[in-house]
């Protein structure tokens, strides 16, 4: 017990990794292709719900259900993209927010399919407990046992999850880094700057934008499924627009156009949100514990304003590039 208990920080590490993957998805859409997608949380929600419904209701094995979840996210990207990709960027932002909220409201109000406001635990009705991550936990345990000889003792479930999540994150990061430097990436950056010019040289701009949207949706879906597996139970409240805002915050904290700064941004973000849970010390312990919760969010807001004031280009970004942005 105590501030440095590795068990807690290992958990935070897992969540940071998941948020990194989520932010990577947003990076493809926003930083590469210039699509201000403010409904990113919808991809996470759709993938998680699809996976949970298949595992709980139809007893599909976890791996297949996860692939189906990602496929559902891709389907949503299509559905969203076809009408909206030709919109101007401000309007795209608003349309995506609206889409995200529609997904959340539907999840909340269709209890027979999604379990309603109670969430995934109620998918089989109010009297039965619906869980989908038993297969995941079994796999984690077998991994723990096989890793035991390396460490001398079996590592915790969170430690193994952290390995898996960060392994995936680094893989995706490397993939994006290569993509950025590739011809495909250059076209996307061109579209971000001036999509009419790119269209003028004969590229199918809408197709490229759709590809960015779908790639981002895939990563968002993966993040959503991993998060669902980690916490074991989720409800529509987990997929509020604030989650998309967190993703943008991570991009900015790290530095807007640097893909390898995203894990740093995610770590900063985790420090901001998880670190402010530790306010029960003097003189803040003079506030009663209920008020400290409000104080925490107040502090988060204040730190946000200060950070934007003092270092708007993010930790790793460059001031010059910021000034060139619209």
């Amino acid at each position: 017990m105590g501030f440095f208990n590795p068990a807690f920080w290992m958990y935070v590490c897992v969540i940071t990794g998941i948020y990194t993957i989520m932010a990577l998805g947003l990076y493809v859409q926003f930083s590469l292709a210039g699509l201000p997608n403010f409904g990113h949380v919808a991809f996470m929600a759709v993938a998680a719900y699809a996976m949970a419904i298949l595992v709980i209701r139809y007893e599909v094995p976890l791996i297949a259900a996860s692939f189906a979840g990602v496929a559902a996210a891709i389907a949503l990207a299509f559905l969203l993209g076809i009408p909206t990709l030709r919109l101007r960027s401000d309007y795209l932002a608003i349309a995506t927010v609206a889409a995200g909220e529609i997904v959340r409201y539907l999840a909340m109000n269709l209890p027979d399919i999604t379990g309603g406001p109670v969430g995934s635990m109620a998918m089989l009705g109010p009297t039965r407990l619906a869980m989908y991550n038993n297969g995941w936990q079994e796999m984690l345990d077998s991994l723990r046992n096989s890793l035991a000889p390396l460490w001398g003792a079996a590592p915790s479930r969170d430690a193994v999850t952290a390995l898996l999540v960060w392994g995936m994150a680094i893989l995706l990061l490397a993939l994006l880094w290569r993509l950025e430097a590739s011809p495909w990436g250059r076209v996307q950056k061109g579209i971000r700057e001036d999509d009419i010019a790119v269209a003028a040289i004969g590229k199918n701009v809408v197709a490229f934008k759709m590809q960015a949207l779908i790639l981002g949706a895939v990563m968002g879906g993966v993040a959503g499924i991993l998060l669902a597996l980690q916490i074991g139970v989720f409800s529509p409240d987990d997929y509020q627009p604030t989650l998309t805002f967190y993703a943008y915050l991570i991009l900015i904290l790290g530095g807007m156009n640097r893909v390898w700064a995203i894990p740093i941004g995610a770590a900063l973000f985790s420090l901001l949100y998880s670190g402010t849970r530790f306010l029960n010390f003097f003189p803040l312990s003079l506030f009663d514990s209920g008020s400290r919760a409000f104080l925490r969010l107040f502090l988060v807001g204040l730190l946000l304003v200060l950070f934007m004031a003092l270092r708007p280009q993010g930790l790793m970004g460059s001031r010059r590039e910021l000034l060139l942005e619209k």
Partner: protein
């Protein structure tokens, strides 16, 4: 059936008044300052609580309390503009939006700490009924409609006829052109915050009156609807926001009319608003009154 429709129309107008008034402020701010002000809802909350202090603690009547709330919120808006937003200009739209999110968090949680999370009420008897044969409304709702009937045309007149109003519309329409023609864009910027804050002040108290009771999440819960109003009317168009607010309120309430094949279930009203928004963006993205941009 028809009586239900009449009542629903009245409900829609009443919901619409709040959205209309606060939407005007939000749309002007976005058009002139180019900031998506995510703290706008908290201005409403601040106004409601200020009104509460004036009305309940200091014993002022509702009208004076509304006036006081209007002045106080206008002062808050200008203060935040001068202290925070103006010095941080030039950091890009996303960064500025995040700043407003941070400010919103601070405002909301400050109200939570100072006033507590419990539900509050203004001193108005909500059970008294005005029976107008076709519809029945409460005194609070009557006051809200009355205030809007006074404020909305005054606002429209202000924007159309007075030099300041015309200057505001000019800057919202085309900043560069306005600057060239000699308008002090900086000063207009400050005046816009004054106006937006004042309107939010009235809107916040009206909200508390119409709802009957409120808590510190008042503004946050209606933020998306305000943004929807802004887009519906056309970003930057004040008339658009006025009309858009009423349209949105009416659409949401009337959709539950049993004449529409049983009517929409009440809890799906927000879904309808968002679907309507998406459809609007697809077919008329500039909103009702905005200009179709060439680029």
């Amino acid at each position: 059936m028809w009586q239900q429709l009449a009542q629903l129309i009245v409900n829609g107008v009443i919901t619409g008044t709040i959205l209309a008034l606060t939407g005007v402020g939000a749309t002007l701010v976005f058009g002139i300052q180019r900031i998506a002000n995510f703290a706008h809802g908290e201005y409403l909350t601040f106004a409601a609580y200020l009104g509460l202090i004036l009305n309940s603690a200091l014993g002022l009547d509702l009208l004076s309390a509304t006036l006081g709330a209007m002045l106080g919120t206008a002062a808050l808006a200008v203060a935040l503009h001068l202290l925070v937003l103006k010095p941080l200009r030039g950091r890009g739209l996303v960064a500025m939006s995040l700043v407003t999110v941070g400010l919103g968090l601070m405002l909301r949680d400050a109200v939570f700490i100072l006033a507590g999370p419990q539900i509050r009420q203004l001193r108005i008897d909500e059970t008294v009924v005005y029976d107008l044969r076709l519809v029945r409304i409460s005194p609070g709702q009557a006051v809200a409609v009355a205030i809007t009937l006074v404020v909305a045309p005054s606002l429209a007149l202000f924007l159309a006829r007075t030099p300041l109003g015309k200057a505001m519309r000019a800057v919202a329409d085309n900043r560069a052109l306005a600057e060239i023609s000699g308008i002090d864009v900086d000063r207009i910027g400050t005046y816009v915050w004054l106006l937006a804050g004042g309107l939010a002040g009235i809107g916040g108290v009206l909200f508390a009156v119409v709802q009957g009771s409120f808590d510190p999440t008042l503004g946050f819960q209606v933020l998306f609807l305000i943004f929807t109003t802004v887009v519906l009317g056309g970003i930057g168009s004040a008339y658009g926001a006025l009309v858009g607010g009423f349209v949105l309120g009416l659409v949401m309430e009337v959709s539950t009319w049993s004449g529409f094949a049983g009517g929409l279930e009440a809890r799906f009203k927000p879904v309808l608003a968002f679907v309507a928004l998406i459809l609007l963006l697809l077919y008329r993205p500039q909103g009702l009154f905005g200009k179709a941009r060439v680029l």
